[in-house]
């Protein structure tokens, strides 16, 4: 690293440029497709740069006039927000006490280990009984039913994140609170939660994005606008008879915006969160 030759430095810069292009080109193309005219997109040879930037498809997808493409899209957008929010809130509500208990008492740690091991289970291993349970309870094709199913992914994941976040918070604070006569729930609420706000926020965002991205269960358990999520709506567009590729790209851009925005904004926290598990392991 100390004495880089000129040739090596040029090589490194060239490779960095190549990696940047490989990452950016598909993303840029998704955006360009969304603002190119159909004539540009079906031209041969293909026009990689549009004659005019046309943002009308965004208006088309986000309009709520009856029976339009937009109505179905906006409905799925709201369903995604509803399902992801409900599942995230419940996952945190049960994950915070459990994560704290596991963090403070190694003796119950094994049960959390068992919970984390469920990550290995393929969703297909649970899908048939889940379908039957939802059908019996009348929860098929409802946002509630889907949110409930998402707990199978979100709850173990966020509990594990929260436990790792609780670990570095000193125990002395809890003991001091106990000596002052605080009950367990008071200790948790008044002493621990304010200190754990950063990790709770991170878990909240991770869990929300996990639900936002989910496709398999949504495909199985929803069938129309009443509960269909964004991922299923996009798959419908991509696999259906829509001949306007720009419109499919527009739906993709809109679905990608929240996670990409969060990703860029929280870069530092994400990178350390993603890599920490790896480095420590």
């Amino acid at each position: 690293m100390e004495h880089q030759s000129r040739a090596f430095s040029i090589f490194v810069h060239a490779m960095a440029l190549l990696v940047a292009m490989v990452i950016l080109a598909p993303l840029l193309w998704l955006f360009i497709m969304s603002v190119s005219s159909n004539a540009d997109l079906s031209a041969k040879p293909l026009h990689f740069w549009p004659e005019v930037f046309d943002f009308s498809r965004y208006g088309q997808l986000l309009s709520r006039s009856n029976n339009s493409m937009g109505e179905a899209f906006v409905a799925s957008l709201f369903n995604s927000i509803k399902v992801a929010s409900m599942a995230t809130l419940i996952a945190l509500a049960i994950g915070i006490p459990a994560g704290w208990a596991a963090s403070r008492n190694p003796r119950v740690g094994w049960s959390l280990g068992a919970v984390v091991a469920t990550y290995m289970l393929p969703p297909v291993a649970l899908s048939v009984p889940l379908y039957m349970i939802l059908a019996k309870a009348g929860l098929l094709n409802t946002t509630w039913g889907l949110a409930l199913v998402y707990l199978s992914i979100l709850a173990p994941f966020s509990t594990w994140l929260l436990k790792a976040g609780f670990d570095p918070i000193p125990r002395d604070l809890e003991m001091a609170a106990a000596i002052d006569g605080a009950r367990l729930d008071q200790t948790l609420r008044i002493v621990i939660l304010p200190l754990a706000m950063p990790v709770i926020a991170t878990s909240l965002i991770f869990a929300f994005l996990l639900a936002w991205d989910e496709f398999f269960y949504a495909l199985l358990f929803t069938s129309n606008q009443q509960a269909k999520t964004l991922t299923v709506a996009i798959a419908d567009l991509a696999g259906g008879r829509v001949s306007d590729y720009g419109l499919i790209a527009t739906a993709g851009v809109l679905a990608a915006l929240p996670p990409v925005f969060v990703g860029v904004l929280m870069q530092r926290a994400l990178i350390s969160g993603l890599t920490n598990g790896g480095v420590k392991g």
Partner: protein, 294 residues
């Protein structure tokens, strides 16, 4: 006495999580096992006990054998490429160059892009008539006429793997970078002054720091790749001519398209078992590596 009460409190705090886990994971898993020994249909009457019939039928069917080898192929190729390219990019990012922070930030983008959007994007890119892939390759003179990348059994799998690779190599690169940054500089400098060549420096100085974190990445990526459903469902639905039909797609078809819940459940259990075996093998390897380097 006090410690008994404390244990009780702790379990009370765990209780909501454990209840939910039993409801949405434990019970369905047990029910999958029960169903796998019956000929239950997805909708309608309860089935009858058929013993191991589903398992023998599935394990001996050509569809299963083909899907199994397709899944192994997808897993092996995509994970290997992700690790190799991820490590190379991680090593690149560990060098000094202009825009290093920006490039590191960019690696987040493919990871953040929802899998469904990624699959849709690449499906558009590979479009046989209007896709950018064809247009770009033609312009560069690599092909002389447009190809149906996802429409031919010979190219569909590689096209899928490329799309999956693009989304997943950045995570490996970030993990590799974090591991590389934990190599102490004086050890690196000592190896250089001892005259170790680049290969030996990589093998004996850098690799020991990389192995642990990379093994974690390999295990996670292997399990994910073995379960793959979304990207394949959206790009090819398992086609053409079932050439990209992986095990998860096969279960979906068996249990939900054909509504054969019983045999679908047995197939799902076979996949779960395969993943468990993979995970155990990896953990063994990881332990022996850790033992060897210390």
């Amino acid at each position: 006495m006090l410690s008994d009460r404390k244990t009780l409190h702790v379990w009370l705090l765990m209780l909501p999580l454990l209840c939910v886990m039993i409801a949405v994971i434990g019970w369905p898993l047990i029910d999958t096992i029960r169903l796998s020994f019956t000929n239950t249909r997805l909708v309608g009457s309860e089935g009858e006990f058929v013993g191991l019939h589903n398992f023998t039928k599935m394990l001996s069917s050509r569809n299963f054998q083909r899907a199994f080898s397709t899944t192994m192929q997808f897993t092996l190729i995509s994970v290997t490429l992700e690790i190799v390219i991820g490590v190379l990019v991680g090593m690149l990012l560990n060098q000094k160059f202009y825009g290093r922070t920006i490039l590191r930030g960019m690696l987040i983008l493919p990871w953040a892009l929802p899998t469904v959007v990624n699959a849709t994007l690449w499906r558009l890119i590979y479009n046989p008539e209007y896709g950018a892939f064809n247009a770009a390759l033609l312009k560069l003179g690599i092909i002389d006429q447009y190809q149906s990348w996802l429409g031919q059994p010979q190219t569909a799998m590689m096209a899928l793997i490329l799309a999956d690779l693009w989304k997943n190599f950045p995570l490996v690169a970030l993990i590799a970078l974090a591991a590389l940054q934990s190599v102490p500089n004086d050890i690196r400098a000592a190896a250089i002054s001892d005259g170790a060549n680049a290969f030996r420096r990589f093998r004996y100085v850098i690799l020991p720091y990389l192995v642990g974190p990379l093994m974690v990445a390999v295990v996670l990526r292997t399990i994910e790749a073995f379960k793959v459903f979304d990207i394949i469902w959206i790009m090819t639905r398992g086609g053409p001519a079932n050439s990209t039909r992986t095990l998860s797609i096969l279960v979906y078809q068996e249990a939900f398209a054909f509504q054969r819940a019983g045999s679908g459940a047995s197939l799902a259990l076979i996949i779960t078992l395969a993943i468990t075996v993979l995970a155990v093998i990896y953990i063994r390897i990881m332990r022996s590596w850790a033992g060897g380097t210390n």
